[in-house]
Symmetry: C2
Subunit: 232 residues, 2 copies
C-alpha cells in the first residue's frame, strides 16, 4: 500500500478500508463509499483519473479475487472511450491465503475459491459448482458465505459438500485476519454452526485428504498433503 | 520478507530464492537446497529451529499455495515429538494473483488452482478434477503445467477443458512476475502453443464468461465479470 500511495491525489474505497490504509496525508482527498456500490465506486475513480488525478482505489485482500479490480476493469470496458487512463493493479494476499496461514496449509494442494453470494449469479449455478467441487475432491474456500438476508445458503452448501465428504472433514473459519477482532476457528463439516458465520468470514472446507493434528505445544494445525492417493 | 528476516539466524530455501530474498547480512547463515528436495529442506529447517536457531524458510509466492508451508507442516506432523518449535507462516501473493493483476482480473469470479504435476497424485485424479472444473465453468489457474519430462499433459488438460469451452476462450500465460525475465501473454484455448509453456509458467484458462478487450491505449485486458447469467 505504501508505495502505491506515493503520488496519489485521491483515495477511493469502502470507508473502513480507507481508515485501514493508514494514510494521514491531508493533501490526499478521501472518497468513502458504501460497501455495495462497487460499480459506482469504480466509475467515480475512473472519472477522477480521466480528469488527470492520481487515484488509488483501496480494496482489502487481493483486489483481483472478489475485490475491486473486477469492477474497475468492467467499467473500463463498458465506457472505454470515456476513460483515457492508465490502470495499474497491485495484487495482494487474498483472504483465503491469510486464513490458511494462521492454521497451517489447508490450501496446500488443489483448491478453489467460490462466492456463495447469489446477487449476480443464479443459485442453481452455485449448486452446480459445489457439486463439481465435491466430485473433484477439491478443498474449497467460500467467500461471502452468509449475510443477514442469506442464512440458509451456507447450510445448503455444506449439505452438498457433505454428500462427498465425511462429517469429520476439517473446516476452518477465519475473520478479520491481521485486524482488530481477528478470529480463527477449526471445526468439522459435521459440527460447524452456520449461525456463527457472517459475510466477512472465509470458510475453508477440507478435501478427503485434509488433516488436523496438534503439535507439542498443543497448537492445532490443518493442512492438505501434497500427495493424494486416490485414483478412483 | 523484510520483517520476517528480523532476528533470523538462518535462511533455508531453493538457491535462487535465497538470492531474491535480498538479504545481505553476513551474520545470517544461508542453506541452499535443490528445488526438488522439499521434505528434506523442511526437516532441515525444523531441526535447526529445534536447536534454538531462528530459521526463515524462503518460498516464492504464497508458501501456503503449492509452496513450502505444506512440506513444513507435513514434517511437523510426522515427527512432532522431535520438533519443539514455534512455526509462523507468513502468507504471500500467489503466482496466479500476480499474473492476473498484470492483465486485469481473470480471477475476478469463482476459480480454482490446480497443479498438473503427477509426481504425488495419479493422473486419473487430475483428469477427474479438470473434467469437474469444466462442468462447473470455473476459471482455472494451472500450476506446474509442464516440465521437460511432461510435455503431453498440458495438451491433454487443455483438451479436457476444451470439451466445455470454445476455442476463443481467453488464456493468460505468465512467468517470473516482478522478476527479471517477466513474461505475460494473452492467447486463446484454440491458439495456445503448449511448447511455449514451462514449469514456471502459470496458465490461467478463462470460463465461458471471461472477456478480453482493448482500452484506448490499445492495451489488452482480461477479466471475468462478477455476474454469470447461466442457470442451466
Amino acid at each position: 500500500v505504501t508505495s502505491s500511495l506515493a503520488g496519489a491525489t485521491d483515495l477511493v474505497g469502502y470507508g473502513p478500508y480507507l481508515e485501514l490504509a493508514g494514510c494521514d496525508d491531508d493533501a490526499i482527498a478521501r472518497h468513502a463509499f458504501d460497501n455495495r456500490e462497487e460499480a459506482a465506486r469504480a466509475r467515480f475513480a475512473l472519472d477522477l483519473a480521466a480528469q488527470g488525478r492520481n487515484v488509488v482505489v483501496v480494496s482489502s485482500g487481493d483486489p483481483g479475487i472478489f475485490g475491486m479490480a473486477t469492477a474497475i476493469v468492467e467499467e473500463l470496458e463498458h465506457a472505454r472511450d470515456d476513460f483515457d487512463v492508465d490502470v495499474v493493479i497491485a495484487p495482494g494476499v487474498t483472504a483465503a491465503s491469510a486464513v490458511a496461514a494462521r492454521v497451517g496449509a489447508p490450501l496446500g494442494h488443489d483448491f478453489c475459491c467460490l462466492s456463495l453470494s447469489d446477487l449476480r449469479k443464479p443459485w442453481t449455478l452455485i449448486e452446480r459448482r459445489l457439486e463439481a467441487v465435491g466430485v473433484a475432491d477439491l478443498v474449497v474456500a467460500l467467500y461471502n458465505p452468509a449475510s443477514r438476508r442469506r442464512e440458509s445458503q451456507l447450510v445448503r452448501a455444506l449439505e452438498i459438500l457433505g454428500r462427498h465428504r465425511a462429517p469429520e472433514t476439517p473446516v476452518v473459519l477465519g475473520t478479520a485476519i491481521g485486524r482488530d477482532g481477528e478470529a480463527v476457528c477449526v471445526t468439522t463439516l459435521g459440527e460447524l454452526d452456520a449461525t456463527t458465520v457472517d459475510m466477512r468470514t472465509i470458510v475453508i472446507v477440507g478435501s478427503t485428504t485434509t488433516r488436523v493434528f496438534r503439535d507439542v505445544h498443543d497448537r492445532q494445525w490443518v493442512y492438505t498433503p501434497r500427495s493424494h492417493p486416490d485414483d478412483a
